[in-house]
Chain length 195, copies 2
């Protein structure tokens, strides 16, 4: 059994090392990404969408060439357990999701996915082994076409020094000052230079 | 010269493989993450902020335990070349940014950072070697405290099947239907099952 270029064990090991823990979803996520990859035309450049911010983006980043930092992965915080790959130019692609209508035969996965019992009552090893056994059987795949707005990645444009903090920022999109100084700063305090 | 647990060459190799290309910023990003890590109290659990969506999130994900999928990395689209690490509970931490006031002596880095000449006129090898030589000398570090809202990661809460698409979604935050079905779908078309 292979997931991407890795053996099943190697995949779990790598993802655990990247993600920091062996979250139960990681197993099924590997199968989902693998199915999306093999259903997408080989050789065509793709971007990816992840419809939840939890866990699944890490499987995508590890198994595909799409990452947050290279702009080829968009994470949408819908809380849907789904991913999509689409042609960078065509916008056509596939969407893979965990299909709750296919979970009847797998009670441990079903109760994990639908949160039917508290985490501490989950049987983790049963859950992982059911996921390994079911693989693609509990997911569904659809053809999709993405909105045209997703096909162009805006260029950053010219930069200027922010008149308030003095740091460089994209002046065309953000206008008179950087967004942090316009009130979006995540910091309550920014002290003097620490070093 | 080491970046995180990697030799300089190994770091470049790993990041190029994850990110997909050897973007010039990757070199200085390694030094920035390294400086933030060694300035943060050892052993304290931290989360990370990245103030740009371009490139820098990948260095953070590769060199720290914070990833998009494990919820320990927040990417803010400010276009500022800066990162921060902060204590998971305390909210106190450090912020590291590329300091344009320190670039006078490094014209190739300065013209790359301030976009003073077109990409095709950049001397990539000069740029990379200047970055390798300058290392931490062109960045500055500050102490920060983050907004309290960043210290709690909301739980997803109960899930329900969306009455429109039938997929599982977080009902407490998103109410009567999933966000995609409420008009935020990235898809123009979702076809029938492809397999």
């Amino acid at each position: 059994m292979k997931i991407g270029k890795f053996s099943y064990e190697e995949y779990l090991h790598r993802l655990q090392s990247f993600h920091g823990s062996l979250a139960p979803g990681l197993v099924i996520e590997g199968f989902m990404v693998e199915l999306a990859l093999k259903s997408f035309p080989q050789g065509e450049l793709f971007n990816a969408i992840c419809e939840t911010s939890r866990c699944l983006p890490d499987a995508l980043q590890l198994l595909t060439s799409s990452t947050i930092g290279n702009g080829r992965l968009v994470v949408l915080n819908f809380g849907r357990f789904a991913i999509a790959l689409y042609g960078k130019d065509s916008g056509n692609g596939v969407r893979v999701y965990l299909d709750s209508s296919k979970l009847e035969k797998y009670p441990e996965i079903r109760s994990w996915f639908l949160k039917l019992k508290p985490k501490k009552e989950q049987d983790s090893s049963l859950l992982l082994s059911q996921m390994k056994d079911t693989g693609e059987q509990i997911v569904s795949i659809q053809r999709i076409r993405v909105q045209p707005s997703l096909l162009k990645r805006g260029k950053m444009g010219p930069v200027a020094n922010c008149p308030l903090c003095g740091e460089s920022y994209p002046v065309r999109s953000d206008n008179a000052a950087c967004r942090a100084c316009q009130g979006e700063s995540p910091y309550l305090e920014v002290g003097g230079h620490a070093v």
